[in-house]
Structure formats: structure tokens, C-alpha cells
């Protein structure tokens, strides 16, 4: 039966129907739901791995064993997994292996907008790029066929608008893929220089064969147009914008496989139109290839390298009518994301801000600690960089920075890439203070379990890494746990650990306020008699507290009664609404 499906759910459905057996991923917007959806199928083994490199190696292991496997990640996750990626390209696979990578043009929830298509070209692997849920479903299935036919992993490249848009899909039954027997093959799977030298020619031959496949595959199709004054080569969501504004007017070469590209098909298409245009988000990838063929083409001189496209943008650049609306002539204040009411990170960041600490940050909800009014975080780069870079920062500045600088990193991010940085601090001995913000979940991506939570992807009990024991085992003598709702305790811990003349770890521990099992206290209310309007409670930037008619006001539908604001009120004006007795 036809149904509306999120692009990520459709990809998951396609992988499932193709018989995927083993799934290992690390969450990352906009890729997360592919793996979450796969975890709902009992026939599939699914897991959250500590990071994308581990996930890809797990998927490779399952492929080696002869089963169809999958790993999914966001664009920056592929950087983490790049090491196995480039060499899996040499070994090839046994069971089919599909790698989903989801780009985030416009950076809805990312630290950069790199274009993952370059990985397909540089690692010499095929990449399929769906333009809606129906194609995400069909291409996921097709990817396994290609993987096994050409002996290589296959990319399924998503982007935010394909991953997080719903369109119509007609699902079918799962077909179990017959397991391929594992056969010992040292020359194929042991990438010593001698063997790798002999594998590299296979890689080049494979790409030549895949380029031939691209010429005839239905993945790349020409859609006829009535006006040959212009012809458009496009893929992914850009294709949808082109169809939205041009309909069937201009011929379109719609690419479902963006690497390798079909040279003959492109040449023939170019010859059939007066002017050749490439419409693609982010980098000039298809356009660069077309230029290398010596063809005249217009692309990035017309279309931006930055951000997402939309139908109006494409219409304007192609010279077709653009829709206009009438905005309100009014100063509308922005509404940036903020830490939630009751967020356990707030009390800790207030403490760091109050103590004028230099805070090196990391990737997660707590990156919002950089926003006003806390303005606490001064650096965010990539997963784990807080822990590694505080060591470099302190080695550069010595005692001058050691007693006022901290690194903050979430529990999941610490498991992902923080442990190796911590090992470096322990080994090369900088007097650094690392704060693990343990909210007992992977928050930003929507509550995924991780190795510190004690539960697996299905919510069943699993192994649980003891953060205190881990840090002690690495050689940290000073490891302490603090409740971020207790401002005095936070202040004491931060001051003492910064003052200490040895490296230390503070674990700021309290579960995310949005977790279903977390019991909230009654909301607070401002007693108008006591409130003097000093705005002391507003220093923490809680979305539940506003200021009206000279007094603070608590939105009782948002407040979860964490009580952090009450600790800042010197007049006792913030009072619980819980009935006494």
C-alpha cells in the first residue's frame, strides 16, 4: 500500500527489503533515522557504534563474513570513517555493503557544509543520489546489486531535504539475501603494500566498468523537453526544484548515480541542446567533470556554492518567473535555538561563565552554551576536539591557562572521540581540566543510546562503560562527579579542580530533561511581593523565564522545576508551586 515515508525511512525500507543483515552506525543529523528505522526490524541486527570509523569497520566485517551490511552517517562522520573507506575500496566486499552519507547544505544542524561527493571520486567508489523517498527506497535496493556485482561498497548519498522530507513509497516484502560463504583470501583482504599494489589495478578496472554501467543504467535518464534552447544536468533535490519551476519545458539529464559519471550520455545530451546548465548544490562536482570533457557548460558562475537551493532561487537563475511575497515591515527578533528549560548543562555553564573560565567546547546540545546570555564556549571544531585541543592550549600557555581553562564534552561525544584525547593528556601530562557533561543520552540527534547509558539501540539492557573507572584507569587521580542542578557544588568542583596541580576530570551528571523517565518537580512561580526586578534569575538564559512589568515571570508550561534560577534569587522570589505538606 502506498504510504508517505520520510526519505530516511524509505532508505531503511529499501535496505531491509534487500536483505540487510548487519547494521552499525553513529547518529548524526540528517542521517539518524535510517538506522533508527532499521532497528525496528527483528530480522536485522542493528547497533549504535561508538563512532563512524567503528561502524564502517563493523559493516565491513559483516560483509567479509558474507552478509549484506550497512552503515550510515552524516557528512562529517564520513571524515571519521575515511580511513577504512579508502582501503575497503581496495579489498572490495563479500556480502553487499552500503554506506549512507547525508549532507547538510545550509547547515541546519552541522558545523560545516562539506560536499560528500568528493569522497566517491577520491576513494573510487560508486555513489547513488536519490531525489525523493521513492528513489531513496529504490536506490537502496539497487545499491546492494551494484555492490555485489562490482565488488565494492556503494554510497547512498542523502541530503537534508531528501532525508527529512516525506513522499510516497510503495513498500514490498523483504527478500532474504543468500549468505555468501567466507573464503580465506589473503591477497584480497590483507592490505600489505605487496597485496595492495596488486589490488589497485582492480580498483581502476572496476571504475571503468562502473562508468560503462552508468551509460546504460536507468539510474541516469534523459527527460524530454519542448525547448532545446537550454538543457539541464541535475540530481538530488536540485532536480525537484528544476522540475518545479520548469516542468517539461527544457530537456533534463537526471543523474541518479553521481559517480562515476556517464561520459557518452553527457556528450550526447550536450549535443542535443543549445546551452548546457548544471544545477547542483554545494560544490562544482558534476560541472567540473563536464568541463574536463571539454564541453561548454554554465554552473557555479550562475548558482551559489553556499547553502541550500529552493525553487525561487532556481527560477531566478534560469530566468523563469519567480514568486514574491510581502514580508511584514517590522523588526522581528530572531529565535535561535536555546538550551531547554531544565537542561542540566545550564547550571554548569553558568558556573563556568561566572568563574570567567576559558571553555573549549565540542559537538552536541551543549554547544548552545556559546549563545547569549551565557556566552561560555569559545571554541567548537569537531567531535572530540575539546579534549585534544585543551592539551595543546595548555602546553602552549602553561600555568597562565591551566588554572582557568576547561574542556567540555558530552558523554556520547566522549565515547566517540574524546577518549584518545584524554589518553594524550594522561600520557603527555598537561595540567588540564576536562568536564564530561553526562546527560545519559545522545541528546542533539534525538535521544540515541551510547556505550555509557547501559542500553542498546532497541532499548534493551547492554554493556555500560563506567566513566569514573575509565578515567582513573587512564591515570587521572582526580575524578569527581557533580550535580549540575547544584550551583554551589558546581562552583566548588570547578574552582578546586582548576586550582589543582594535576590533570582532572569532572563528570557533570544528570539525565537530559527531555528523557521520558525523568521525573520533574512542580514548576516555580515568581512571588510578586518578593521580586525586586533585579533580573538575577535571567543570567542563566532559561526560556521559561521572561520579564514583564518590572518583574520576572515563569512560564509554568515550560518550567520543569529544576530550581537553578531559585539559587540565584537573593530575595526568595522564585517559589515552588508544589502544595506544602
Amino acid at each position: 500500500m502506498k504510504q508517505l515515508m520520510l526519505g530516511n525511512a524509505a532508505a531503511a525500507r529499501g535496505l531491509y527489503e534487500a536483505g540487510v543483515a548487519v547494521v552499525s552506525s553513529y547518529p548524526g543529523t540528517p542521517s539518524t533515522e535510517i538506522t533508527e528505522e532499521l532497528a525496528k526490524f527483528d530480522e536485522v541486527y542493528s547497533e549504535w557504534a561508538p563512532n563512524e570509523k567503528v561502524a564502517m569497520e563493523v559493516a565491513f566485517g559483516a560483509s567479509l563474513a558474507g552478509k549484506r551490511s550497512f552503515c550510515g552517517m552524516k557528512h562529517v562522520g564520513l571524515n571519521v570513517a575515511a580511513d577504512p573507506l579508502f582501503t575497503v575500496s581496495y579489498t572490495g566486499v563479500n556480502g553487499g555493503m552500503v554506506i549512507a552519507v547525508a549532507d547538510d547544505a545550509g547547515m541546519h544542524s552541522s558545523q560545516n557544509e562539506q560536499d560528500s561527493r568528493h569522497y566517491a571520486r577520491s576513494a573510487k567508489l560508486p555513489m547513488l543520489e536519490p531525489s525523493d523517498s521513492g528513489e531513496a527506497y529504490a536506490f537502496a535496493k539497487k545499491a546492494y546489486e551494484i555492490s555485489e556485482q562490482f565488488d565494492c561498497p556503494v554510497f547512498l548519498k542523502m541530503c537534508t531535504r531528501v532525508a527529512h522530507s516525506q513522499s510516497i513509497v510503495e513498500p514490498h516484502e523483504r527478500v532474504e539475501a543468500p549468505a555468501k560463504p567466507y573464503e580465506k583470501n589473503i591477497a584480497k583482504y590483507v592490505m600489505t603494500p605487496a597485496n595492495a599494489i596488486r589490488r589497485h589495478p582492480h580498483v581502476e578496472e572496476r571504475m571503468a566498468k562502473l562508468a560503462e554501467f552508468a551509460e546504460t543504467s536507468e539510474l541516469n535518464r534523459v527527460e524530454a523537453g519542448s525547448d532545446h534552447g537550454m538543457g539541464i544536468i541535475t540530481s538530488s533535490t536540485s532536480y525537484q526544484y528544476v522540475k518545479e519551476v520548469c516542468g517539461d519545458r527544457f530537456p533534463v539529464l537526471k543523474l541518479g548515480m553521481v559517480w562515476p559519471l556517464p561520459e557518452k550520455k553527457i556528450r550526447a545530451f550536450a549535443a542535443s541542446v543549445d546551452k548546457l546548465i548544471v544545477v547542483e548544490e554545494l560544490d562544482s562536482f558534476i560541472e567540473t567533470y563536464v568541463r574536463e570533457l571539454g564541453l561548454a557548460v554554465t554552473g557555479k558562475e550562475l548558482f551559489p556554492l553556499l547553502g541550500e537551493f529552493s525553487q525561487n532561487l532556481v527560477a531566478e537563475k534560469l530566468g523563469v518567473p519567480v514568486h514574491t511575497g510581502k514580508a511584514l515591515d517590522e523588526n522581528i527578533p530572531p529565535r535561535p535555538p536555546a538550551m531547554c528549560a531544565g537542561c542540566p548543562h545550564r547550571g554548569l555553564f553558568y558556573t563556568l561563565s561566572k568563574n570567567k573560565c576559558t571553555v573549549l567546547g565540542d559537538i552536541g546540545c551543549y554547544t548552545l552554551g556559546a549563545a547569549a546570555p551565557l556566552n561560555a564556549i569559545e571554541m567548537t571544531l569537531c567531535m572530540g576536539a575539546s579534549v585534544s585541543s585543551i592539551h595543546g592550549y595548555n602546553k602552549a600557555l602553561g600555568a597562565e591557562s591551566e588554572h582557568k581553562t576547561v574542556a567540555v564534552i558530552g558523554d556520547s561525544t566522549f565515547m566517540h572521540s574524546g577518549m584518545t584525547g584524554l589518553a594524550n593528556i594522561a600520557y603527555n601530562q598537561s595540567n588540564s581540566t576536562v568536564i564530561i557533561l553526562d546527560n545519559s543520552i545522545t541528546g542533539m540527534t534525538g535521544h540515541q543510546q551510547n556505550p555509557t547509558t547501559g542500553y542498546n539501540i532497541k532499548g534493551d539492557p547492554a554493556g555500560k562503560i563506567d566513566l569514573e573507572a575509565l578515567c582513573r584507569a587512564m591515570g587521572f587521580a582526580r575524578v569527581r562527579v557533580v550535580d549540575p542542578y547544584d550551583l554551589d557544588a558546581c562552583d566548588k568542583a570547578v574552582r578546586e579542580e582548576l586550582a589543582a596541580d594535576e590533570p582532572s576530570v569532572i563528570i557533570s551528571r544528570r539525565p537530559c530533561a527531555l528523557l521520558k523517565y525523568v521525573k520533574h518537580s512542580a514548576p516555580l512561580r515568581v512571588s510578586a511581593d518578593e521580586c525586586v526586578g533585579c533580573k538575577g534569575c535571567m543570567k542563566i538564559g532559561c526560556p521559561a523565564i521572561s520579564f514583564q512589568d518590572g518583574k520576572a515571570r515563569v512560564d509554568e508550561t515550560l518550567c520543569v522545576g529544576c530550581g537553578v534560577c531559585a539559587q540565584l534569587c537573593r530575595f526568595g522570589a522564585l517559589q515552588s508551586t508544589a502544595k506544602e505538606g
Binding site: L4, P30, H108, S109, Q311, H323, L328, I332, K535, S546
Partner: protein, 190 residues
Amino acid sequence: METKNIMIVGVGGQGSLLASKLLGHLLLGQGYDVKVSEVHGMSQRGGSVVTYVRYGDKVASPVIDRGEADYIVSFELLEAARWMGYLKPGGQIVTSTQRIDPMPVITGAAQYPENLVEKMRAAGAKVDALDCLALAEQAGSSKATNIVLMGRLSHYFDLPEEAWQKSLEAMVPAKFLDLNRKAFELGKNA
């Protein structure tokens, strides 16, 4: 049929995903091609969020652009004002009068504009404004604001009542169905 566009705007965490799921189910059931585009991740944390619902004979783009929305359904007044430029000339805004201060207003860096409904009307927009939060609480839960809005939106659609009710049944957990039916009615008849 030419593609129709509904934008659902609000503040992250207000329940716009359920509203778009309901509309998706409803419109698919009417035999339309439907696309729904959502926002996940960081902007959901109390930020300005927008969901696009498009339906017609054949829908290409998953998003709605400036000057294209037939309806803007808003959970919060400032958000209706923010996205007004996306309304098609002659389009309809259906908004809750709820006010949620954004962080720049909380910190004192910006002011929350006054009289937004009047200003939007003066600028030529058709605005249907109602206190959805109060109606949701009357129905039994402040969380039913989204369904109050859907009830109000149903007013503007030439669709049989049972189609809406069927989608409500399909999308809302059974134990909250009565509450949500009431919220829908209150919105519809407000």
C-alpha cells in the same frame, strides 16, 4: 490540480510534527500526491521551526518558497509574522495568539513587537487569530494546541468531516483520542 501549499510554523517542541503527519495522512487519503518537509536536529531546541506540506496532482519540490503558501498555520504569533513573506497573495494565516519570548527578548537585546495581528492585517494578510493554548487546556491538555489549530484549519477546507476524524484516529494514540477530538471541535468552532 495546481499544487497547494501549507506551512506550519512555530517554536521547536510545540508539536508541529504531529500536525504535519495528520495533514499528510489526510491528503494522501484524498488521493493527492503529497510531500512533507520537516526540520530535525539543532533548530528543534526552542528555535524557529517550519514544516512544509504540499499536495496536488504531482508535487516536485518538497519545500515552499516566498510568496507560495496558501495557508500559514502558526503556533505562535511572532512566528506567523516572521514567515508572512511566504504567504501567497490572498493566502490565509491561521495563528494561535500564544506569545513565547525568544532568547534575544529574554536577554533584553530585542523587543517583542506589539499588535502583530493588526499589523499583519494592515499589511494585507488575511489573519484568523485564536487563543489555541486556552482552547487546548479547555480540551484537557496544553499539548493539544496542534489539534486545535488543525480543527481551525479544517474550516477552510472543502473536505468531509469524517476524513479529518479518520486521520485523527490514525495519528493520535487511542488513550488521547477523546481529548484530541474535543480540541479539534473547539478549534473548528472557535
